[in-house]
């Protein structure tokens, strides 16, 4: 062997081991500001795992707690909402998950929420994601209806998805994670899991859904190839549904959802197995959508909001994402649909589950074991 060939071989081995063992951190590098010009005010106390925040008004807030509770906090007074479904399945990552008020709430007091459910299950240790609606009368839910239930029930404890958003045309979008069956569910439109769904406000399936005429397809599916989307927000200006999802080890993603598109999981990903082994070397595919942004390493994103108000002038138009793993909120600056700046907000606050913009323009964050905080500019 010549020396040249030997070096070539060494270089190859080096590159190969690099691709197997190391994951290159994605840019831009996140900044941690030394001085902050905001304070965090705790507005709701004593919550175990607050999973979502929803505003009826700025003084009338709904909060879900994963183990199966909804609270209504009116002018600071916290009361439990009664009349929830009896078959909420609290296991692993499952429980009572997202809450959203109807775009027509002022007229009909309707709310929507997702749970992990073992509704038609024969045994209590298997479940899947369910979407419910009900009328909220004071602190009581009436006229409870199940609008969607993903099947089959499985004992797997992870990836329920479950976020809910609305557009201005009367559609409701919600997510269901791959339920731990990445090689079965996400790429198959005849199966639930690993999907974004679109339905009318009454749960009916829109006639123009992308797979409505495909035999055996789940007709409510709007996009597929997702892993576990737990952040969703409607971008009013662009009229787009923005979603982020948990990757495995690396490869969390931000995606802008388009009708009928395939977002690639697990065929393309920047993530690796938890053991560090390769899932695939592909990050692009002609028939699949690459993410708008990906995180390596994973931050375990949960909750997503844009700051649209003038409450924080320097943050206007920025995207905010909670990190369960690193226990902060990430402020993301976008320019021409590219992430150009990332900064930590609320450093070390705890496991951030949700972030929302209130009707009067403040950002609120839900933190496990702590409660709900309001971000106030100094």
């Amino acid at each position: 062997m010549t020396l040249k060939r030997f070096f070539f071989l060494c270089a190859n081995i080096y590159l190969f081991s690099f691709s197997v063992f190391a994951q290159v951190e994605n840019t831009p590098e996140i900044k941690t500001p030394i001085d902050v010009d905001y304070t965090l005010e705790k507005v709701v106390d004593s919550l175990i795992i607050p999973w979502s925040i929803e505003f009826i008004t700025e003084n009338d807030i709904l909060v879900s707690e994963k183990q199966g509770k909804i609270y209504r906090i009116k002018k600071g007074i916290k009361q439990e909402v009664i009349g929830l479904p009896k078959d909420i399945y609290s296991r692993g990552q499952g429980g009572l998950l997202d809450i959203a008020i109807s775009p027509n709430f002022a007229k009909e007091n309707r709310i929507y929420f997702t749970t992990a459910s073992n509704l038609e299950g024969e045994n209590r240790v298997a479940g899947n994601t369910a979407l419910y609606t009900a009328i909220l009368e004071g602190n009581t839910l009436i006229d409870l209806q199940l609008l969607y239930k993903a099947i089959p029930n499985t004992r797997k404890g992870h990836h329920f998805g479950s976020r809910i958003v609305f557009d201005e045309k009367g559609y409701l979008y919600f997510s269901v994670g791959d339920r731990g069956e990445r090689d079965i569910n996400p790429q198959d439109i005849t199966k639930d899991g690993g999907k974004i769904y679109r339905v009318h406000l009454d749960g009916k399936i829109p006639e123009d859904n992308p797979f409505i005429s495909k035999p055996l397809a789940k007709k409510a599916v709007y996009s597929y190839g997702h892993r576990n989307p737990q952040g969703m927000v409607y971008h009013k200006e662009n009229k787009e549904v923005w979603v982020h999802e948990h990757g495995p080890k690396g490869g969390d993603e931000i995606n802008v959802i388009q009708k009928g598109k395939n977002y690639g999981w697990p065929k393309i990903t920047y993530g690796k197995n938890y053991s560090g082994t390769t899932i695939t070397n592909d990050t692009i595919h002609p028939n699949m959508e690459p993410p708008l942004y990906y995180w390596v390493p994973s931050i375990a994103p949960s909750g997503m909001a844009f700051s649209t108000s003038g409450r924080y002038p320097k943050w206007k138009g920025n995207l905010f994402v909670g990190s369960l793993k690193f226990q902060y909120v990430e402020r993301i600056v976008l320019k021409d649909r590219k992430v150009v700046e990332r900064e930590k907000i609320a450093v070390d606050i705890g496991r951030v589950r949700d972030i929302k913009e209130s009707p009067d323009g403040f950002l609120y964050i839900a933190v496990e074991q702590k409660g709900i905080f309001k971000i106030i500019k100094k």
Partner: protein, 134 residues
């Protein structure tokens, strides 16, 4: 002669029961791996090393080997508050995963016999049943 036969039998019974228990333990460890890969791996990682200062290690963890019952309680009911593992302080929360008691036993057996951990313990479902929330 009778004495010899009964000693011989006794040895056989003991070794058979040891053998059966060993087999049960191996099966429990195998089931425990799938529980671990579903519920625990996201934080404690595939090698049980966790993330220093955030998620405590399970591999070669002094806390685990010295506090078996506390560890069972943590897996069964969840856990919060400060602990010290291998000299490093952790103050985080592990949510209750709502595992069945046999799953708690299985995952404990997996943890106690993986990544270089060599415990003499065999955690049974009965022992998990007896652990109460404090």
């Amino acid at each position: 002669m009778k004495v010899i036969i009964s000693i011989f039998l006794a040895i056989n019974i003991v070794s058979l029961s040891v053998f059966i228990q060993k087999k049960e333990l191996m099966q429990s460890i195998e089931r425990g791996k799938s529980v671990y890969d579903d519920f625990c791996i996201q934080c404690h990682l595939h090698n049980g090393k966790g993330v220093e200062g955030i998620y405590p290690p399970l591999a070669n963890s002094d806390y685990l080997t010295k506090n078996i019952d506390k560890s069972i309680r943590a897996v069964k009911f969840g856990m919060k508050g400060p602990i010290v593992v291998n000299g490093i302080k952790y103050d985080n929360v592990m949510a209750n995963q709502d595992l069945l008691n046999e799953e708690v036993a299985d995952v404990m057996n997996y943890i106690l016999h993986s990544w270089g951990n060599k415990s003499k313990e065999y955690i049974t479902t009965k022992r998990v049943d007896s652990i109460r929330i404090k």
